[in-house]
């Protein structure tokens, strides 16, 4: 009951957040985003045709009515049709979001799990060569541009100039082996970059936890290193870890990865979103922004629930 009340309360307080995010982003789209009219015009356009297209795009309506229409679309989850392709926005998202999820999740999960594991090792050996080695590697991962990493992995593992083991481009995934075939190189590239950021962050969290009294006490009791790390340190460091992971999820779900998708020829939502941003395809942008805002509210709620699960002292009141 306490949980249900909490969820309802959070949902209600999430509404201003959604309104705030959508209002600001819609304002930016309308007044600072690309004008789609001039991409839809023929080569020898007339003033009459310009007005026709502006009318069809709804550009001639007052801002308030356009925003209210947006809110209605968000509530009904019906964002109409893409201004570029004419396809239903819901169909586009239904087709592309699962592909982006399938593409990014392995890298996201492995990047976090390995990051935590390496952070534990580094923190446990704090100040020693192993710590320095891991942290040095993290800095390398953080310093190299994602684009360079993608190209390097593609040349080394996929192209004929390298090993040629994996496909350069495509997403013909019909079974598990196809999936592994297509997802391996993008995943390795993602993990390479994510590890740097994750390891450094998690190490800082764990190092802080290691200095606490209960850890010192456990050490004094002669607790074995594995138990000390997982039961006494990691469990108590879970709150910042959960926060970091949870707040990355909306972006993973809806934004995809433009660079991975464009370089590996994967028809995910990242490419669709990027094209929508650069071409001013407002129906898609409205959907992406709106759903991301809603997901953030959901994540906020789940985040608090997870806090309660990992630390019973946290109150949901």
């Amino acid at each position: 009951m306490e949980m249900l009340q909490y969820v309802l309360r959070k949902c209600i307080t999430g509404i201003p957040l959604i309104i705030g995010v959508t209002l600001i982003s819609f304002l930016l789209m309308v007044y600072f985003g690309p004008d789609k009219t001039y991409e839809l015009l023929g080569k020898n356009a007339t003033e009459e045709q310009i007005q026709e297209i502006r009318h069809q795009l709804g550009y001639d309506k007052p801002f308030v009515s356009r925003y209210l229409e947006y809110m209605k679309e968000l509530v009904t989850f019906d964002f109409g049709y893409s201004d570029s392709t004419g396809e239903r926005v819901s169909s586009i998202l239904k087709r592309t979001v699962p592909i982006s999820l399938a593409l990014i999740t392995p890298g996201f999960v492995l990047g976090n799990l390995l990051g935590i594991a390496l952070a534990l090792v580094a923190a446990y050996h704090r100040g020693r060569w192993l710590d320095k080695f891991i942290m040095g590697g993290s800095v390398v991962g953080m310093s190299v541009s994602f684009l360079i990493v993608i190209i390097t992995f593609q040349v080394l593992l996929s192209s004929n100039d390298g090993l040629g083991w994996f496909p350069v481009r495509g997403w013909n995934v019909y079974n598990f082996w196809d999936y592994l075939h297509y997802v391996t190189v993008p995943t390795l590239a993602t993990v390479f970059v994510a590890l740097g950021y994750n390891t450094r962050f998690y190490r800082a969290v764990i190092v802080e936890e290691m200095g606490r009294d209960h850890v010192r006490t456990a050490k004094a009791f002669g607790t074995p290193p594995g138990e000390l790390l997982f039961k006494h340190i990691l469990k108590n460091a879970m709150i910042p870890i959960i926060t970091r992971i949870m707040f990355s999820i909306p972006l993973v779900v809806i934004s995809g990865s433009l660079l991975l998708e464009s370089y590996f020829g994967i028809p995910g939502v990242g490419l669709v979103t990027y094209d929508a941003i650069t071409s001013g395809d407002q129906p898609i942008l409205k959907a992406v922004v709106g759903i991301t805002a809603v997901l953030f509210v959901v994540v906020l709620i789940l985040n608090d629930i997870f806090y309660k699960l990992v630390d019973p002292r946290v109150s949901l009141k």
């Binding site: 009219t37 020898n44 350069v168």
Partner: protein
Amino acid sequence: MVFRHFMSKRISGLLILLSILLAAGCSDGPDTNGMKIYRHSLKGAPSSLDPVQAATVYANHVVVNVYDTLYSYKYLARPYQIKPNLAMGLPEISVDGLTYTIHIKKGVEFTDDPAFPNGKGREVSAADFVYSLKRHFDPKTRAQGSWLWAGRIKGMAEWKKAGSDYDKEVEGLKALDRYTIQIILNKPFPQLVHTLAQGYAAIVPKEAVEHYGREFSVRPVGSGPFRLQRFDSVGVALVRNPKFRQEPIDLAYEGYDETIHGQYGIHEIEGKIPPLVDRLEIHFVKESLSRWNSFTKGNEIQYAEIPKELLDDVLSEKKPDLIMKPEYAQRFFMIGGIENAFVFSTFNMRDAEIGYNPDPQREKMNRALRCAIRYAFDWKERNRTFYSDIGFIFPGIIPPVVPEYDPDLSSASVEHNPEKGQKLLQEAGWTADNLPTLDYGAVADVQYRQFFEQYRGWLAKIGYPKKKVVYNSFASFGDYNKAIKQAKIKIISMAWALDYPDAENTLQLFYGPNGAPGSNSTNFNDPEFNRLYELTSVMQPSPERTRLYRKMNQIVIDSCAIISGLSRTRIFMWHKDVVSFPNEDIVGGFHLKYVDVKEAQK
């Protein structure tokens, strides 16, 4: 123990997650065993596959392969030659050049689709063409091709004004019977047949337009050689249309020349019936390195344009002929040629600071300023820096790919002569203080910025203060186009791809009434040019028309309204197991139904 427990729980969680992901990202695969598959690539993607929105060469690659057009271009003949496609023959034209009668083939059917009763595609009729062309004048369709026929078809403007009611007839566009189309023009339009070969003129069934509504743009239903299987942001997959008419290839008719085409094995397709592959995939790959890696991989895309950054790696010689290095020549075919387009810069003549000015003295000064800037421009350097020194520089606005091009025209307007430019400025009374600030418009992009910096450097050589040459960048092409259509930029950097092989298509860019927001972005408005344009626009190709075209070209050059131009050389490669004579210039993709691959998928 704790660690093992921790890991086993997480591994099972991971496996569950993996299964969910797999289910989410997978779909049923097509059975491609034994199929002939050709994997083409393009460096851009279409947004819509609705013929009325087929504004790009990328969209046309799909549209002309899914739909039928009345006319097409011969596969191999260069210069391009029109041939009947769905039409029985070339149009019957009345003596006054105003009435076109076109008979279409009988028994041609649309592909089967749920849009039709019982899912069975019906026969294509003359009424379908009439309906398809009317759609360009229906504001609801967001058509982009109406400019081809606007003001030319009798009664079409009135039909649109009356509310674009498809049940009402257009006087100049009728289906006389099931297989006969009649087009009546307001005035002769010699390029009409060319326009009927464009993707814009593709024939769509009304049932599919109504069934799919807005989504018709991603669910094309046509009577062309292929039908669509998949379309997304990275490519399309088309499969053979089993109902496509049986018309064996006659290579002699298509313009086969053993000396040109023999080396590509084109003779192998003689007598075969298009389409020659079971599955045509067109991959949209904007990233040149990724495209190249995929192309050289061997089992991925089979056709690609050489990225310009790799030209020196792939070619052993660039001049006078393009020659591939032996390691590439063993594996690939190559073709290179001047594009059916050109790049140029124009001055906004509507801007009184640099263009037309009511004050005759200032008008004279402005012309001197434009000419001086043109002398500052170094086309050879531009060619070396950005086009691998293999672009073709020519004076004026009639590019080398059209028959009206004049190879003997003086090249003075494309010569770099900063001294002369500086002298012109001084003589006209321009000083560093009174020179206007020039805004150079372009889309925000590294290469455009580089163009600008090079341009500014050249202007400095004629004494133009650097701070008076500013970069006006736009986030998207739409925004840039908006500024052009509103005549807000002084210097416009442009490229123009010809819709059909007739210089009229570039000359119309300088016809006064086509000024912004029309295609005349220069806002050039010269009475003599306009008179000649109107005169020639109704003339059939002839030496006299060519003479007048060249005269118009000279008027534009003499006015110093443009800095033009250069046609880029584009080089394409394809695998040796593919029989093809690729073409990306006119329309886009009309050759794909003739592409064959030697081995079927195993």
